[in-house]
């Protein structure tokens, strides 16, 4: 199947990009890595009047550390995230999650900005950004606007981006000391979108775990992908764990609490009940591992 006709534009600057967005409005689609947009074009599921290829817009492809934290340009490819020592150091959660994104040929093109702007609820990076408390910096002719990741994802393929805005970069705050991060997902095949995924962080209340017991959890962040219309912060489960030792009974209680956090969809790959169950398993495994980890 071949795409329906569209006009192809390749702006050389953000200003040109904004001109094109003004000109086409909803009929224009931003092309970054293209690993989701191009299949949709090929299948004629997306039939925009114009495709605006921002790959040649300069200064969107850097990873740098600034006083606000780790700043990742929208055009940074997933493969670059995977290999970046800065990402490994300052956002180990992202480093853990990225290898789960598709296959290497997909990550070679796919970008972080594209993944966030698309807001596929099963995608890994949006969940990571919510878990990390990242800020998504949108750019438009009017300037830059910061949106907390938690407020950015509104629903399936829906974000807080306003007309005329694109994702310019994402700011991951400097890692507070003591946090440990983990990402796991359950996908039918290597590289598939997950039936359920979990980006999690824990901060021990005091000290590390003893030889015999899991540590007391001071703070915890649980954000799931694949189990809702957007990344889902599991606040009830977090509450059930905070201040507790992550032993089997507490994990089980957190799993029950998780039911109140989730309202997963069903599709050909799994029913809501399956996704709910798998999310509980992930919670137990990831938190159990992080809380029991010898630091």
């Amino acid at each position: 199947m071949k795409p329906a006709p569209f006009e192809y534009h390749r702006p050389a600057s953000l200003a040109e990009t904004f001109d094109l967005l003004d000109r086409y409005g909803d009929d224009g689609r931003i092309l970054a890595g293209g690993q989701s947009l191009v299949p949709a074009l090929n299948l004629r599921l997306a039939t925009p009047r114009a495709v605006i290829d921002i790959n040649r817009v300069p200064e969107l492809d850097a990873i740098r550390v600034t006083p606000e934290g780790l700043v990742i340009g929208a055009l940074v490819r997933q493969e670059a995230l995977e290999r970046s020592p800065l990402v490994r150091e300052h956002a180990p959660l992202v480093a853990a999650a990225v290898p789960h994104v598709g296959h290497s040929a997909i990550r070679a093109r796919g970008t972080i900005g594209g993944s966030l702007a698309l807001a596929d609820p099963a995608a890994e990076l949006p969940a990571c950004m919510v878990a990390l408390g990242a800020t998504i910096r949108a750019a438009s002719r009017a300037g830059r606007r910061d949106v907390a990741a938690a407020d950015f994802f509104r629903g399936i393929y829906t974000t807080a981006l306003a007309p005329g805005e694109i994702v310019a970069e994402v700011v991951v705050p400097r890692a507070a000391p003591g946090w440990r991060w983990g990402f796991e997902e359950l996908a039918r095949r290597h590289g598939d979108f997950a039936l359920a995924g979990l980006a999690a962080g824990v901060l021990a209340a005091r000290g590390g775990p003893s030889e015999s017991r899991a540590e007391v959890l001071g703070e915890i962040r649980l954000v799931f992908c694949g189990v809702g219309p957007r990344p889902v912060r599991a606040r009830r489960a977090e509450a059930a764990l905070t201040g507790q030792r992550a032993d089997a009974a507490v994990l089980a209680a957190a799993g029950r609490a998780l039911d109140g956090d989730l309202d997963p969809p069903g599709d050909v790959h799994g029913s809501p009940a399956l996704r709910r169950h798998l999310a509980r398993v992930l919670l137990s495994r990831v938190v159990g591992r992080l809380a029991g980890a010898r630091s």
Partner: protein, 943 residues
């Protein structure tokens, strides 16, 4: 827009359309046809090319985006020598069959080795995990990459044994040299002038009346050449009916290339649009307005037979295609006398073939010559030839069907697809060349599906595990038509007939009902019915063992047919000349180290790790003989022919009616010809797949290439050798009986001393006949045909063993190992048999765990992309060990039986039994495939 880029080191400047993707640009604008198109949504990896050094999906990048980039394709890296080690290793390990995935696989492997020069198998499987191969099961690919990485010398080739005994040798396939260089010529690679492209408006409904079709806007679109409705096309094409007269009471309805008044499945072609490009044809389709009146869809098989059900073809009276009953012995008495009776219902999911190369047809009609030339991605060129001739009313001698390289087929490409017939009709109507390629969504909606069965089985057993009787009820919904010309009832028939296959009990009562429904038509796909039959039987055998507290191996030994029982006619009427169940069972247990695995399983189980072992004994129908096809009225040749021509320099050209889709048929024919005539195998060239050129015959399906084509080649080779010796005898003035042909030389039969090179014999025969006696005519081109007459089918057998670990929290299954002992009779090329088996196992594992055509209650197919229909990839599959037992058939000189399908037949049952073994501590049991996490967790009571 205008783009400039470097392709394989050379600068290129071209005008491109914004919507054109990179792989289309490379293939169709620049002619780099080594990059293939398999899905167009980024899952299969066939279009992998390197852009600025990095492998990417060519279908997910626009050509315009490659402006200024450095692009490398398989052609470039092959010609530069950059992947020579990988190419050598792929060929030596036979890590490619049809070759369609190979360019993408090689480019991905190349990048892996650049970044990790010494990867382990896990890293290789992960790195190649985004490249789909339907043929190999990935085992050989992993081995090849390992070999290339470690600079391990390629396997010592068996190509030129000094004794000329090529039968039983792992000769490397000659044609793979082309395929690893991206030089395959698949149907979509064929270039013809003034080519037009067809696309189809398809029914969005499972069942709906066509009230009105408005083609005006489409026809007015620039670039659109024709818009044709079903009514218009019907004038040019006779409809077909997929019934066979040897199935009493069978019924189906006439099928047209384009639906006339109503559509009966979602995806049925309704209107054809022909345009200057595929993209334009699709633009035209988007402008055709069809007014639909939806009808109630018939989706569920039970509901289809219920009183008051909507009847899909009212003129047929009901939705029953065929009901079959097989009864043998006294089942009621057997059940009454039994110590125990077990009953279970199995559901096997609807699967489809997903050959990486989709269905493609390029039809070229020359009105001046009144000839239709069709390039076709097919398995059975003469069958297609006959159908085109009769249904398009073109005299047979004015049709030509050519199958060049075929990118996998597996039984998909032996059926009559309406869009393919429509394309050929369009070529005739327009007097032009027209191409149609089923894109991946169309493939899922219109390629045959298969294996959708609900089977209720009841087994009667004695306390010692002896099975004394069985009842079986099979319900098989097959879509709205029986496929033509092979029908859609064979699969259910095979389920009925092969289920008791390996076992001794004779009291058997089976009923099969085949029903119409509004889903994609189902028909025969690799190992027709066998995976279902073996799964049901073997799951029941394990059930008996478990319930009675017996060892599953021992229960099998107590029930299997034994070596002293042959020849044996089964209660279902099947005839077994000689099978090797006991030997094969021992061979697979030995190969796997079964008792150590049992001990490991038990040890880990105590620690909460849930592993299971599952056996599956199977029989496999191969080499369908003279009693098939024609007896039911199907004009399909069960006979094949081979021509061998001795060339003047002593080389052989072998021209055969069997066909090649990656199995290595060409190679085994070359081996047989070389061994029979007495020439080096490198001196043999094989030609197949052209109805203008080859002897009349069938093609390749039903594991018949070796058993029929191989035997025809033996007979031809013998006759040619006799003729060669007659010439030699005249030239050398000795008795022909004192001479032999060995190593391309006429030799003294007794001493082996060389008397005359074949090149000299050829020179004399062809260019100096004046030197031969006046009454002597040399005949150095010989044709012989062969059809098996002594048994209807050559049954083969084997045993599979699967070792799995079930994560009882998630329901995920990890395959730890898979082993097969198979007996395909006399083996021509062990490496090719291994790879047939491994590839088949991968299909069967797909059935067991992943693959499923899922429909909603309206008959809408929900799994229309490779993101939703899950085929197993490298990272999901285990290493697959293969052992051989050889029981040649005595009915042919070669003793060859078939090897193409046994791998599929036994795999789903083995994996099901292994999963159930793993689940046994929980008293949980699964009786449906695919065994998704959902199915397993439900069995465990966790959902």
């Amino acid at each position: 827009m205008r783009i400039g880029l470097t392709v394989n080191g050379r600068p290129v400047t071209r005008e491109v359309e914004g919507r054109q993707n990179l792989v289309d640009f490379l293939r169709y604008d620049l002619g780099f046809t080594g990059s293939h198109i398999g899905c167009e949504h980024g899952v299969c990896g066939a279009c992998t090319v390197r852009v600025d050094g990095t492998p990417i999906r060519g279908c997910l990048m626009l050509a315009a985006q490659a402006d200024g980039c450095r692009v490398e394709t398989i052609e470039g890296v092959a010609e530069s020598g950059a992947i020579a080690a990988l190419q050598r290793a792929f060929r030596a390990e036979n890590a490619l069959q049809c070759g369609f995935c190979t360019p993408g696989m090689l480019l991905t492997a190349q990048a892996l080795l650049e970044r990790n020069p010494d990867p382990d198998p896990v890293a290789i499987r992960e790195a190649l995990g985004g490249n789909y191969c339907r043929c190999t099961g990935y085992h050989a690919i992993v081995q090849a990459v390992l070999g290339a990485a470690r600079g391990r010398p390629a396997k010592a080739p068996d190509a030129a044994p000094s004794d000329g005994a090529y039968i039983g040798r792992s000769v490397i396939r000659p044609q793979t040299a082309r395929l690893v260089a991206g030089r395959g010529v698949y149907t979509d690679d064929v270039a013809v002038p003034r080519l037009l492209h067809a696309a189809f408006v398809r029914s969005p409904h499972a069942h709906a009346r066509i009230a009105r079709i408005d083609t005006g806007e489409a026809a007015a679109l620039p670039g659109v050449v024709a818009v044709v409705t079903g009514r218009e096309m019907a004038a040019h094409c006779e409809p077909w009916v997929g019934v066979l007269k040897n199935y009493a009471g069978m019924k189906s309805a006439p099928q047209y290339p384009l639906a006339l008044d109503k559509a009966v499945w979602q995806g049925e072609p309704v209107v054809a649009v022909v345009a200057e490009s595929r993209a334009l044809a699709e633009d035209g389709c988007a402008r055709v307005r069809v007014t639909w009146e939806p009808l109630p869809p018939v989706v569920d098989a039970e509901a289809a037979l219920a009183p008051g059900a909507t009847v899909i073809h009212p003129e047929l009276g009901d939705n029953l295609v065929l009901e079959t009953r097989i009864k043998s012995g006294d089942v009621d008495a057997a059940f009454k006398a039994a110590d125990a009776v077990y009953r279970e219902t199995f559901d096997t999911g609807r699967h489809t073939v997903v050959s990486l190369e989709p269905r493609v047809v390029l039809a070229d009609y020359d009105p001046a010559d009144e000839t239709l030339t069709v390039h076709h991605s097919g398995q059975a060129p003469y069958m297609f030839h006959d159908i085109l001739s009769r249904h398009l009313r073109i005299p047979e001698h004015r049709v030509r069907v050519i199958n060049k390289d075929v990118g996998g087929s597996f039984g998909l490409k032996i059926h009559t697809y309406p869009d393919e017939i429509a394309t050929c009709a369009l070529a005739v109507m327009l007097g032009r060349a027209v191409k149609f390629l089923a894109d991946r969504v169309e493939s899922f909606q219109t390629d045959i599906h298969s294996r959708d069965h609900r089977v209720t089985a009841e087994v009667a057993a004695m306390r010692d595990g002896t099975i004394v009787g069985m009842r079986l009820d099979d319900l098989a919904p097959v879509g709205p038509f029986s496929m033509y010309p092979r029908s859609s009832v064979v699969e259910s028939g095979q389920v009925l007939r092969t289920t008791p296959g390996p076992y001794r009990f004779r009291d058997y009562d089976a009923r099969g009902r085949v029903v119409f429904q509004n889903k994609t038509p189902m028909s025969q796909y690799r190992a027709v019915g066998h995976p279902v039959a073996a799964l049901v039987m073997e799951a029941m055998v394990d059930r008996v063992a478990r319930e009675l507290g017996l060892d599953p191996v021992e229960v099998r030994r107590r029930n299997l047919l034994t070596a002293d029982m042959y020849p044996y006619t089964a209660p279902t009427g099947l005839f077994f000349e000689k099978l090797s169940h006991e030997e094969s069972l021992d061979a697979v247990l030995d190969l796997a180290g079964y008792s150590a695995l049992c001990a490991e399983r038990d040890r880990l189980r105590a620690r909460g790790v849930h592993r299971g072992l599952g056996l599956c004994v199977f029989i496999d129908l191969t080499v369908p003989g003279a009693q098939t096809y024609g007896t039911g009225g199907a004009r399909i040749s069960s006979q094949d022919g081979t021509t061998i021509r001795l060339e003047p320099t002593g080389k052989l050209t072998v021209i055969s009616s069997v066909t090649e889709q990656g199995q290595g048929t060409d190679t085994i024919l070359a081996q047989v010809a070389a061994a029979t005539v007495g020439v080096p195998v490198d001196d043999v060239r094989v030609v197949t797949g052209d109805t203008l050129v080859t002897p009349y015959g069938g093609g390749t399906w039903g594991s018949r290439g070796a058993g029929i084509g191989g035997e025809a080649t033996i007979q031809t080779g013998k006759a040619l050798k006799e003729n060669i010796l007659k010439v030699a005898a005249v030239v050398l003035e000795v008795d022909a009986l004192d001479l032999d042909v060995r190593g391309g030389q006429i030799v003294d039969a007794r001493t082996g001393e060389s008397r005359l090179p074949l090149s000299e014999l050829g020179r004399v025969a062809y260019f100096r006949p004046d030197q031969l006696p006046k009454d002597f005519q040399s005949e150095l081109t010989v044709t012989r045909h062969y059809v098996p007459r002594h048994q209807p089918l050559a049954y083969t057998n084997g045993v599979q063993l699967s070792y799995v670990e079930v994560d009882v929290d998630t329901g995920f299954v990890k395959l730890l190992g898979h082993w097969v002992a198979e007996d395909c009779g006399r083996i021509i090329n062990p490496m090719l048999v291994d790879e047939q088996v491994r590839g088949g196992v991968a299909h069967g594992i797909g059935d067991a765990l992943f693959e499923h055509c899922v429909y909603d209650e309206h008959g809408q197919l929900l799994t229309t992309t490779m993101m939703d229909y899950l085929v197993p990839m490298a990272a999901e599959l285990p290493d697959i060990g293969v052992a051989h037992v050889e029981t040649p058939t005595a009915y042919s000189e070669g003793g060859f039986k078939g090897a193409g399908e046994g791998g599929v037949a036994g795999a789903p049952g083995a994996v099901l039994n292994a999963v159930n073994d793993a689940l046994s501590p929980f008293k949980a049991r699964v009786t449906r495939v695919p065994m998704t996490p959902e199915v397993i967790l439900r069995a465990l009571g966790k959902l």
